[in-house]
């Protein structure tokens, strides 16, 4: 992975501290930085010729963390905050990519491109991802915390404990949120399922 200049690292680390200390604008300033760096590392994964290979999101996010943050200076809590931002950035990158692809293919033959050629029974497609993204926006209008739980877990690869810590709720609450959000989203995404 290409190295990141020290300034970026210092900035990210400092903003994480500010975020942890309750400065809400710190998140807003972190987001573009993380998005830009994550886009760079994800780019290779998302190249056209590797369409059949899954973007290994969890690994990407962890790589990014190692790259962007002075680990020694950031505690467990700060680390979790970083992952929430990365999860959000990851979601955005994947969806941007999916929409771009669809635009390019508009009018042509529509082929289902699998995200992972290992998943035989249930194929996740770029289409599915776009549908999920739309549904998550609707869920957000209804219940923002549940949107976050799904986003952090699915796009950020965070553990229930990390999510609980960031949202300042119990792990049990995170589990219950996940069950409810999942049912709600599946009702939206697969309404005619038996």
């Amino acid at each position: 992975m290409a190295s990141v200049d020290t300034d970026t690292r210092n900035t990210v680390t400092r903003l994480l501290h500010a975020a942890r200390d309750g400065d809400p604008s710190a998140f807003d300033r972190l987001m573009p930085l993380v998005y830009e760096e994550l886009r760079k590392v994800a780019r290779q994964q998302l190249r056209e010729e590797y369409d059949d290979q899954a973007p290994r999101t969890t690994e990407l996010v962890h790589e990014l963390y190692l790259k962007l943050v002075h680990q020694a200076d950031v505690d467990w809590h700060g680390r979790a905050h970083f992952f929430t931002i990365a999860a959000r950035a990851m979601r955005q990158i994947l969806i941007d990519h999916a929409r771009k692809r669809n635009a390019a293919k508009r009018g042509g033959d529509w082929t289902r491109i699998t995200l992972s050629d290992y998943r035989m029974a249930e194929e996740t497609t770029w289409d599915d991802l776009i549908a999920l993204d739309d549904a998550l926006d609707r869920l957000n209008a209804l219940d923002p915390r549940k949107r976050k739980v799904v986003e952090y877990r699915f796009f950020g690869g965070m553990t229930e404990k990390e999510i609980a810590d960031v949202l300042d709720v119990s792990t049990r609450t995170v589990q219950r949120d996940w069950v409810k959000a999942r049912a709600w989203l599946y009702n939206e995404l697969y309404p005619d399922a038996e």
Binding site: S3, Q53, T57, T124, L189
Partner: protein
């Protein structure tokens, strides 16, 4: 939050608490609003759905790994996945062979046909490697999607480290397995193939105990940008695939030679012996990893084992026993394989194996010749020492002590400290013994000024820089004190010895305390303070009695020293009592043919004779004479002195015949003042 949504989720959650087939009834009982009920029912239905987008992580799942067609093979199940790709258990799809094979499917594809070509060519070379301890490469190719794969002999076993721990193999058995590993590596090197990714997970052992190396040469195949014969490219900021096992030259510039494999063998050996890796590079940045691997000395295996928390290591022995086994030859062998400079390691895997074999055979190992104390000892033997050289070494020594101290500080965990200090003290001591044990015969005269100067500055630095390392500081102080004593400067030695004594007293080290008391007693004698000397001797004697027991040689030796001191100050009766106590212990412990025993008996006999106790003196003096005669010959001065004592005894006892018989053997006539 939406109030209606809140109602829905509350009902949904409560319904979920019911058994699945009672949920509809429960909901009908608890919700009157048909629209609300319909929403909750839809959620309950959706809840039952599986296999949706959220039910698998956003990266390849490994579940459906069976029945995939790759080349001429069909996968049966996933054996494992790693950074490079996945390994499947597979069989020939065309039914030509029933045999199971391991199929390794690599993550990275080839962007060009040219690279794929080269891959195929090199794979052919690897297929020619045929060795009982190397998993045979059968086949390989590129899938339609451009993913390269290898087909290898399937090894049903476990990684060597897990195997050793599972079978609780003792050190010797671990070493014998490792010798097979070396043999396989040596075979490949002779065929000009380097492994470059040796690590336990690439070294399998079957249940029958056969070693099989996996993935030979594959790491090189994957280094796509190197054309055959092209100069190795400088790769900065890129770590090898397994940093924990990477050699310094791999980390620094990606240069790969057989020496890198030797280094990696050293890492594997280290791990097999200690249960730990020489460096911890996890969670470190690439530049930190590079620094650690290129600059830091790993902890010696014998020290590492005592630091291991017992539950993380399925040790082949208790930490204490393990440490004793590793200290010395095995430490030296491992450290030689792990040298930073490739040309200072073993020149080949075979040489490493040979040294381990010598260790197993209890023969001296060659690596020992490189160990610095050993080298120094030899150097001392070879050279006649000039004082200037001694002074130079002394400066080096102080520098060394400071270096190891500095290194110890680098090791963060406090709990490691004590172990490290012990190790350092042993190093310093060995070095000093090597250095000064032989060197001081030639020191003296005006040259000693130079020695004095470096000693004085060394002492100053000792006091300042080693303030937080009391144990090693004490070790150094007593060593330097020994040098001052050799120079005849008891006044300079005394405060150093006292300082060391205070430290060891505080640390409750009775052996060191006793030794230092004895040295201080000698200093007191040199400075004509017999009473002070006696008090020090007696304190040492008490410690030895308590720690070792009254009838042990270590205690008897203190009695002997004290007796000599008392005798030289005319306190004969006190001296006689002590000599008499020490004599039987000397005879038992040292034997009757030992110079020290002979000398002690002679002194005691002479004292008895002077006091007129001829009956007690006679057997002692005769034994002493016979021992000296047997050990050193009749003409030796010690034998002659014993003879004179015997002649004077018989003369005094009024037995002229016997006196004459012994006098005949004298080469010179006894003089009245000889003892």
């Amino acid at each position: 939050m939406d109030n209606r949504w809140h109602q829905i989720e509350t009902l949904f959650e409560a319904a979920l608490q019911q058994p699945p087939d009672e949920r509809a009834d429960w909901l009908a009982d608890h919700c009157d609003d048909p629209a609300l009920r319909a929403d909750v029912e839809r959620l309950l239905d959706a809840h039952e759905r599986t296999g949706g987008i959220l039910d698998a992580p956003l990266y390849p799942s490994e579940a459906p790994a069976a029945d995939r067609r790759i080349g001429a093979y069909r996968t049966e199940r996933l054996l494992g996945r790693g950074g490079m790709g996945r390994v499947y258990l597979a069989t020939r799809a065309d039914g030509q062979f029933e045999q199971h094979v391991a199929l390794k499917l690599l993550q990275a594809g080839f962007p060009s046909e040219e690279r794929a070509q080269r891959f195929r060519a090199e794979r052919q070379i690897l297929a020619t490697l045929s060795h009982p301890h190397i998993a045979q490469l059968f086949d390989g190719g590129v899938t339609e999607d451009g993913q390269p794969y290898f087909v290898m002999e399937y090894v049903d076993g476990q990684p060597i480290d897990a195997y050793c721990d599972a079978h609780r193999l003792p050190i010797d058995a671990r070493l014998r397995l490792f010798l097979d590993v070396c043999a396989a590596v040596q075979y490949a090197h002779r065929n000009l193939i380097v492994h470059r990714d040796l690590k336990p997970s690439n070294i399998f052992v079957t249940e029958a105990g056969t070693v099989k190396l996996l993935d030979f040469g594959i790491a090189k195949l994957l280094d796509a940008d190197r054309m055959p014969g092209a100069a190795p490219q400088t790769r900065t900021g890129v770590l090898p695939m397994t940093p924990e096992y990477a050699s310094p030259e791999q980390v620094r510039d990606g240069a790969i030679t057989t020496a890198s494999d030797v280094y990696q063998l050293g890492v594997v050996l280290y791990e097999l012996l200690t249960g730990q890796r020489p460096y911890n590079v996890r969670d470190r940045s690439p530049s930190e990893v590079e620094r650690v691997i290129c600059d830091e000395m790993p902890t010696r295996p014998s020290t590492a084992v005592t630091d291991a928390p017992s539950d993380t290591m399925d040790a082949p022995a208790s930490p204490d026993r393990l440490r004793k086994t590793l200290r010395g030859d095995l430490d030296t062998i491992v450290m030689k394989a792990l040298r930073k400079e490739p040309d200072r390691r073993y020149a080949s895997a075979e040489q490493l194996a040979d040294d381990l074999q010598r260790y197993l055979n209890d023969e001296p190992v060659t690596a020992r010749a490189d160990a610095w104390t050993y080298r120094t000892r030899k150097f001392v033997r070879r050279h006649r020492w000039s004082v200037a050289t001694v002074a130079g070494f002394l400066v080096l020594l102080i520098g060394y002590a400071l270096t190891v101290t500095w290194q110890a500080r680098q090791i963060a965990q406090e709990r490691d400290r004590a172990q490290i200090e012990t190790m350092k003290a042993e190093h310093v001591k060995a070095f000093l013994i090597a250095l000064f044990g032989n060197a001081w015969q030639n020191v003296g005269g005006s040259d000693s000024v130079a020695v004095r100067a470096s000693l004085d500055s060394g002492v100053e630095r000792l006091q300042q820089r080693l303030a937080d390392q009391p144990e090693i500081r004490a070790e150094m102080m007593s060593a330097v004190a020994g040098v001052y004593l050799r120079l005849g400067d008891a006044a300079a030695a005394q405060p150093l010895l006292k300082g060391a004594l205070a430290t060891h007293r505080a640390l409750e080290h009775p052996d060191e305390v006793a030794s230092l008391l004895l040295e201080l007693a000698e200093v007191a004698e040199q400075r004509s303070a017999p009473d002070r000397a006696e008090a020090l001797y007696r304190e040492a004697l008490d410690i030895r009695r308590t720690e070792r027991g009254d009838q042990r040689i270590a205690t008897a030796q203190v009695k002997n020293q004290l007796a000599q001191s008392l005798e030289s100050h005319g306190r004969d009766s006190a001296a006689v009592a002590l000599y008499a106590e020490a004599a039987p212990v000397y005879r038992r412990a040292m034997g009757d043919s030992h110079t020290q025993t002979a000398v002690l008996l002679g002194r005691l006999g002479a004292l008895y004779r002077e006091r007129g106790d001829y009956a007690s003196a006679e057997p002692l003096l005769r034994d002493a004479f016979e021992m000296h005669q047997q050990l050193e010959g009749t003409e030796h001065p010690s034998t002659q002195r014993a003879l004179k004592r015997l002649v004077r005894l018989y003369e005094a006892w009024d037995a002229p015949g016997r006196a004459a018989a012994y006098r005949d053997q004298l080469t010179t006539l006894p003089t009245p003042d000889s003892q």
